[in-house]
Symmetry: C2
Subunit: 155 residues, 2 copies
DNA sequence: GACGAATTATTGGGATGCAAATATTATTAG
DNA sequence: CTAATAATATTTGCATCCCAATAATTCGTC
């Protein structure tokens, strides 16, 4: 019961392309704004909700706290973020944007996610359904249903 | 002309899941075979065609030579790969698998790509078309048509 | 043949990413 | 109240990844 699945390698290549264009986009943003994709991603989250704790930020970025600490070190070093010991819980750290940090967010280019959202908006209902259901199927194939989403390099 | 696009964040989350499960898969392979995804990926390429030069291997892996050098250092350190100065061009290096290296490749688990191929085979024609066309649309949205596919962490 | 340009692999420095171990503080059990 | 436990952020060590600079070799041009 073999089927004609000539498009299979193409699907995989397309997955690669999507992945690459997103990381590529992250690098472009890095050159124009001076900060990396993950750094900008962290700033954007803090711009929406702050103060935030390290663990909360890590959760929203789908990253481990240990990873976020390094990103925060560099953001703090650039004077874009402040770390303050929380008064309620002295184990925790309150993260806040500096004025400079808010500036960077305001001037930063859109992240790839916005590109995706806009592109998806332009699709017809039928096309949108194909993308949506197609991704669902891919996720199911990989048994990724229960997986926590990953960063996508600041998409 | 607003459309109901509630599934948009879900699509993006699904993209994240797909990438994560692939990197996750790479880590599983690391635990069972003792080597990492990119390392196994390099071995598999060398198993198919060798000798190979560093630049050629890098090209086939869609990685920079500088990156591949590090991977080769570790593979050589484990005694899975040999580096020999080429006689025709003394700038170049001939890469070969050792017997131990061939052994590892033979016993290594399938990479994520195989998982995808098998999963795609199980779909009905209608489902397959959705995945295929859905990915096409995503690629077009991102303007990724002209992009050379990237590695996907040894997928 | 000689000198500049291109090619090849490597090194060095920076940024993600993870897991495991650590120090500090909070909470819970007894 | 005290001791064990859990939560929080960090540090350390490792493996990818990139770019830029370097050293060695080859090629091309004069």
């Amino acid at each position: 019961m073999k089927k004609n699945r000539a498009a299979t390698p193409e699907i995989i290549d397309n997955l690669r392309r999507v992945f690459q264009v997103i990381t590529e986009y992250s690098k472009t943003a890095e050159k124009t704004s001076g900060i990396t994709g993950p750094q900008l991603w962290a700033l954007k989250i803090l711009a929406k909700t702050s103060p935030l704790r390290v663990s909360e930020l890590a959760h929203q970025m789908y990253l481990r706290p240990a990873t976020v600490v390094g990103i925060l070190d560099r953001l703090e070093g650039k004077g874009l973020v402040t770390r303050t010991r929380s008064k309620e819980d002295r184990r925790a750290i309150d993260l806040n944007l500096t004025e400079k940090g808010k500036d960077v967010v305001a001037k930063a280019p859109e992240v790839a996610q916005v590109m995706l959202i806009r592109g998806l908006e332009e699709l017809t209902d039928e096309q949108f359904t194909k993308v949506s259901e197609g991704m669902d199927l891919l996720v199911r194939i990989l048994g990724a249903d229960a997986i926590t989403p990953q960063p996508l390099h600041s998409a």
